[in-house]
């Protein structure tokens, strides 16, 4: 039977028994989801690619311990988001030693997306403006928006993936939407001024 026709459970079992093709199929099946999480969290940067690879390496190393309590997708998302948050912490530490104020900042949150070219580009497109606004959110706010709104997890699943109480996720969702709204209104105004 072809690997890509197998269920996740069967592929995990086969990969656990050393079948490389089974593991490769799992990577191909879930690389889109992992890419979506790490690139939205870290921008389209080499660190995002690295976090994506590391997500699957950790999954491979943990195959023996994977008992299927969560689906493979949710399990991978949890690894990916944790690696992204760790990377953002590293960036924040680096930023303390190399202070840098990106153009167009308007709130007091530390800028975390230095490597993203969109951060300094003109935002002539809604998608770019949304991604740029997202990049300016603090990691704890960005992660709830990515998981709940962009990846489509329920509030409860988001809370489980992040290891937070549902109430905390709800309050972070609210605050992050308020911030996004403010930033998008402001960037709209800038756009109007530039056009005029």
């Amino acid at each position: 039977m072809r690997e890509d026709a197998l269920t996740d459970e069967a592929l995990v079992d086969a990969a656990r028994d050393g079948c490389e093709d089974a593991f490769r199929t799992l990577v191909e099946r879930y690389e889109g989801r992992v890419a979506s999480v790490v690139i939205r969290m870290l921008g389209n940067t080499p660190e995002a690619e690295d976090a994506g690879q590391e997500t699957f390496i950790r999954f491979y190393r943990g195959l023996r311990g994977f008992r299927g309590q969560a689906s493979v997708g949710t399990y991978l998302t949890r690894i990916a988001i944790n690696l992204s948050l760790t990377e953002l912490k590293k960036r924040r530490r680096r930023a303390i030693f190399v202070p840098f104020t990106p153009p167009g900042r308007e709130d007091d949150t530390p800028e975390l997306e230095y490597a993203d070219p969109a951060a300094s580009a003109e935002y002539d497109d809604t998608a770019d403006r949304i991604q740029a606004a997202l990049n300016r959110l603090k990691p704890e706010f960005r992660s709830v928006i990515v998981l709940r709104l962009m990846e489509g997890y329920s509030t409860k699943e988001t809370a489980e993936i992040l290891g937070l109480p549902v109430g905390t996720v709800l309050s972070r969702l609210r605050r992050s939407q308020e911030k996004l709204k403010r930033m998008l209104i402001s960037s709209n105004r800038e756009l109007v001024h530039e056009t005029v």
């Binding site: 390496i57 709104l149 939407q177």
Partner: protein, 152 residues
Amino acid sequence: MKRSELDLLYRSLDASLTPEEQSRLDAALRRDPGLRDEHERLVRLRSQVENQESPSFRADFSQRVMERLAAESSTMRASIPEGETTPDFEDALPLMFRKVAVAASVAAVLLVTYNLATSESVSINTSFGLTEELYPEDLYDARIALETEGEL
């Protein structure tokens, strides 16, 4: 726009409201145009965020992962002497703790021996290096007390 109604509005988008809360929110939306505008703005914002195109890795991502896995496995194999296999974490854990337990037992026996050899008396306390505890009755000598009181 009341704060409590705005709270309900935000919560309604990510959690289920009780029937009572839902009817309170519906009534507020009918009554307050500001809240209705806010609702529309939020729905529009969320739909823009939700409909963002999914980013992807460069082509051949799975190939790069498999190459990295192979490279890491060969590095691990290179550090293990020929003929031996890579120990699994589950197998390695008891082995590691066995070594720690043996070392701790030897250290404990040496310590007890040293304590007993250097102390004047043999007791549980001295074997653990503790000083003998003194009780008030140990300090009280009835003979001295009676002599002091002139009864002896």
